[in-house]
Amino acid sequence: MSTSSVSKGCFVFKPSAKKKKRTLDVGDYFIDGCEGSGNSELRFKLCQSLWDKMKTETEVLQDELNRKILDRLLEFAGRPSSTFQHGADDWAARMRASEIPTAALVLGVNVPDHDMTFQSLSDLLRQSVTPHVASVQAKECGALKHLMQRVLERLMGTVVSVDEEEEGDEEAEHASTQLHNKRVHCSLGTLCDWYKSKTKRSNNGTPNKKRSSHVRDEQPQPPVVIIFKDLEAFNPRVLQDFILICSRYVEHLPLMFIFGIATSPSTIQHILPHSVSSLLCIELFQSLSCTQHLSTVIDKLILTPQFPFKLSGKVLQVLVGIFLYHDFSVRNFIKGLQLSLLEHFHSQPLSVLCCRKKEALANVLQLSHQDLESVRQLPSFRRYVERQEPQEQVNLLTDDTHIKGVCQKLIKGLRKYHKNFYPILRCLHTLTSSLPKYPLGKQIRELYILCLEKNVWENEEYQSAMQLLRMLARDELVASLQTCAEILKPVKAKKMRNVLDQLEDLLAKFKQLDKVSGETAANGEEITSPEKGLQKKTDLFQLQKTLLEMKESRRSKKMSPFEILRNEAVDFIDSLVRCYLAPPESQPLNEVCYYSSSAVVRRHLNATPRTSIQTALSNPYHYLQNDTLRSEDGTVSNAAPDICIVHKLHLECGRLINLYDWLEAYATVVSAAEGTHPDSDEFGKVDELKHARFIQAVSELEFLGFIKSTKQKTDHVARLTWGGC
């Protein structure tokens, strides 16, 4: 269906009967505009199933991470509230002020992540402690009555009227439910009555003797929990008043607060004066820091052969950078990962091979000739071909069945590579992360990025790390090697089994050394003593100096058995690194799994609206892709949209712009674009149409924030940007 119109206006088409049913779903959007559309549906399916798996994994992870703090919170909420607590010690209970138990839950500044935590918190509370849970957010509680209303509504599950403003729109339904609705007043008294009736009902009408301790012990009253999701954003007055009101009802209503705090618990003292905070019994709950959280996510989603999809070093750096520099949000990090995944499957036709081994091998056989051609284009594959014998090269480049077989082999190789890569990476990290100054990074992700980018062992930092390892004290070295063995134990890959055996041999040798060390103990002590000094914090210069000195002394001295063994161990580690930690670039077909368009990710996740507007205005061709707008020298063509011309002209002005001059200049440019002869009378003349177009363009510029009207001169506008042409 089409029109002859070239503009993308709005046209009415009567839907033809067939097409009517079908609405676009996610898959259609994916397939639309997909690179190499032959297998796009399959790719979409793979992409979705892979994402589903990753998502489940993150959810499990999230639960585990929050478990500890949530458990503590549940225990806190489950405690009988402090006013009723001291049943036995009645005197103290009567004397002490009745405070509202309050959990100060410090969650960190990554506010977008909090939602999930609060969601699981309130779910858990509902499941195991109390049905009465309400969470409120600052933005819905501008005034006290709104806060009250939200709390009451969420607890009682009814509509509560605040009496004033909302009159108008409720009038209609109001008429019918008036009698019923009217008594629901927005006060804690209402809540109290409601709570009493609730608990009485659940007690099956047993005469609920007022707080005679025996009855209460048998039927603990479920607390009423109110969660303030973002404490800092609340209006302090509203919060204070609310707490004051609540404190009047503590005797009748087992209230409990949970404050979600993004900064630090001392904000409570900033927000609430002593007279109010003294009504609360505040207990602190500190959640895991978001950086730890991120590490776990990276550990479980990225540093594992479980998921075939991989990020290149650059992309990972962009995502980690956004996290560390901008938002600290794990949720956004995962979103970024999802975006990369989607982009990968969308833009890489060969991503059909990015799936589980069996599927991938089957998919290789389904590859079309065109797909195989793109395999041949892959840089990694080309490098692979170059390494082969001439006859084999010819076969690879011409024989489609042959290349399919090779591809299967390579895919298997890639899988093995990953299976070995991550355990060895972890081992190397274990060994180096305890070294002074962290030459290879404190976090494993830093080491990982190093490994992704080039051969790690060619880094200077790697060399110095190895040197430091050669000086490690015995117990430390042995402990690290032991951890490495632990890391390798669950790994099933054959090669890793071998490595583990070798490592255990080494460890056994160290142990033997212990046995015979009886007589050489004195010796060993002497040698290790300067190394002990290394552990202390020294600056880099000092460190290098000691290193040199030690080298000297080593040359002059005979090595002890321990030293020999230590060198053997470090050499072994080094060989492992060289063997297994080659960067993915070196692996043929790595493009199938690795997503590397960091620019795309950055553009999507870290948008620069200002730059985009600037580009749109100064180079309209960039977005409009209309050939008449193309200009080589960076000037704006006369035919550009009005706003571009007006913008261009305004750049030539000073801080104040005379509107009339501006209009005339505009008219001249537009006349030229219309092809009016420069000598004719019409040229540069301002007619109604031009005038209107000019005004529209100027107000668009004002809307975008480039200019604003000024009171200094009525016929002028002020520029809000600086810098000119």
């Binding site: 138990p101 009555k145 009217k182 007043h185 804690l188 003292q269 207990e283 870290n606």
Partner: protein, 445 residues
């Protein structure tokens, strides 16, 4: 003393019982009683009672009204998010829920008066009705006509009714500039140390002698009287620490008579309480748990303000640093600090007389967004694209209350901010990014 609380309309026995419950407030109670007169007599239209927190205002009024069984309604003004609630509660307590349900939605003052009159024509007052308004200072924020009307409610509804306002603020701060009926004022002075001792000593623990408790209160007041005179708070503190006081007695180490040893035992403990529970640095429950723990573990529990550290994303830190600099440096000096080759601009050149006083004493000054960003780009060590997330970090900082937005008018054009963090805080932040902020602060030049 009971002589003060005398009235021919009440039995003496009853008055004595009331007086017993109002130690140290006999004078005020006596005055009140004489103003209120007998239950059937007309009383003054409105009474205004003021005094600091926990000076016994509510306590005295309620004791009188309850013990003498006078009809009354109590309303706390904090709770009245709308006047409707206030009216409803008054009608509910005085006339029952049928009367309250007559109120229309969003009732006006005249609705209230109309219904009140209608009700009291059905059931005219036999005894004076009292309406007690707690935290009356909040009435000032409600409808302007509400307070004057309440003050002369007696006249408006033509009923024997008295409105009693309780507040921590003096009447002068209430008087509307349009003038109004002057209520009868009654001041509740703060309790003296002796009075506090007397009142607190009354709640002695059932299993210990009154003398022991009294001496305990004496020690408690010795420590806390200089910082806290709030009866409620003192009572709370007394309850929290009494078990510790009794510990040596329970263990049989000390006799009740050995006050010096008891004092030696409890005094350091109370001192510690002053720095912790009293400031709500640790909660009362935690404090009690601490008491059960061994001495040596108690160091582990840190107060709320010990957790002042805030983790921020890298650029947020620099934005905050830039904001701090913009707030505490005069704008003129930016050139000196942030332009590489600023030429010869010595401190003396731009030192103006009034600026000799520290900017830190004057507090943060507002600054426009442009200036913040200009400083930000010059302090941050790498090139930063002006991405959307930089801007959203600024608003995040505002919601976290680390920055404060000033003024609300011109948000799109030129928003202004203030930095709301302390010097210590910003120094801690700068240290984590290796930025020597002191070098850039005009005050420390």
């Amino acid at each position: 003393m009971a002589a003060l609380l005398q009235h021919p309309c009440y039995e003496e026995e009853r008055l004595r019982r009331v007086a017993d419950k109002l130690p140290c407030r006999e004078v005020q109670a006596g005055t009140l009683l004489s103003v209120m007169g007998g239950p059937e007599q007309h009383s003054f239209p409105s009474i205004f009672i003021y005094g600091h927190r926990a000076s016994g205002k509510s306590h005295v009024i309620h004791m009188l009204l309850r013990e003498l069984e006078l009809p009354h309604a109590t309303v706390s003004c904090v709770e009245c998010v709308s006047v409707a609630l206030l009216f409803e509660q008054v009608l509910l307590s005085l006339f029952g829920c049928d009367a309250a349900s007559l109120l229309p939605r969003s009732p006006s003052l005249s609705d209230f008066v109309r219904i009140y009159r209608q009700q009291c024509s059905h059931s005219p007052a036999v005894q004076t009705r009292y309406i007690v308004m707690e935290k009356a200072e909040l009435l000032r924020d409600m409808d302007a006509n509400l307070l004057p009307a309440l003050l002369r409610l007696q006249e408006l509804v033509q009923d024997n009714v008295t409105v009693i306002l309780l507040s921590e603020i003096v009447w002068d701060k209430f008087r509307p500039n349009t003038g109004c009926f002057e209520p009868l004022q009654l001041h509740f002075p703060d309790y003296s140390k002796g009075e506090l001792q007397q009142i607190l000593a009354q709640d002695s623990h059932p299993s210990y002698s009154a003398e022991l408790y009294s001496s305990y209160i004496n020690i408690l007041l010795g420590v806390f009287y200089s910082v806290c005179r709030d009866l409620r708070e003192l009572r709370h503190l007394a309850a929290l620490n009494f078990s510790k006081f009794c510990e040596p007695l329970e263990e049989g180490k000390v006799k009740e008579s050995d006050t010096h040893k008891l004092w030696r035992n409890i005094e350091p403990h109370l001192k510690k309480a002053m720095q912790t529970v009293y400031l709500r640095e640790v909660s009362s429950v935690q404090w009690e748990q601490l008491q059960q723990m061994e001495e040596k573990d108690t160091g582990a529990v840190r107060g709320l303000s010990a957790h002042a550290h805030v983790e921020l994303p890298y650029y947020s830190k620099f934005l905050l640093i830039a904001a701090y600099l913009a707030s505490y440096n005069p704008a003129r000096t930016d050139k000196r600090f942030f332009v590489k080759h600023h030429g010869k601009v010595r401190k003396t050149n731009f030192l103006k007389k009034h600026e000799k006083t520290s900017n830190h004493l004057l507090g943060p000054k507002p600054f426009p967004l442009d200036r913040l960003l200009a400083i930000f780009y010059s302090v941050v060590d790498s090139r930063v694209a002006p991405t959307a997330s930089i801007f959203s970090q600024i608003s995040s900082l505002v919601t976290l209350q680390l920055l404060a937005q000033v003024g609300h008018d011109d948000q799109i054009d030129a928003p202004k901010y203030k930095c709301a963090v302390s010097l210590d805080f910003i120094r801690a932040i700068s240290r984590t990014v290796n930025f020597d902020i002191v070098k850039y602060l005009y005050d420390f030049l």
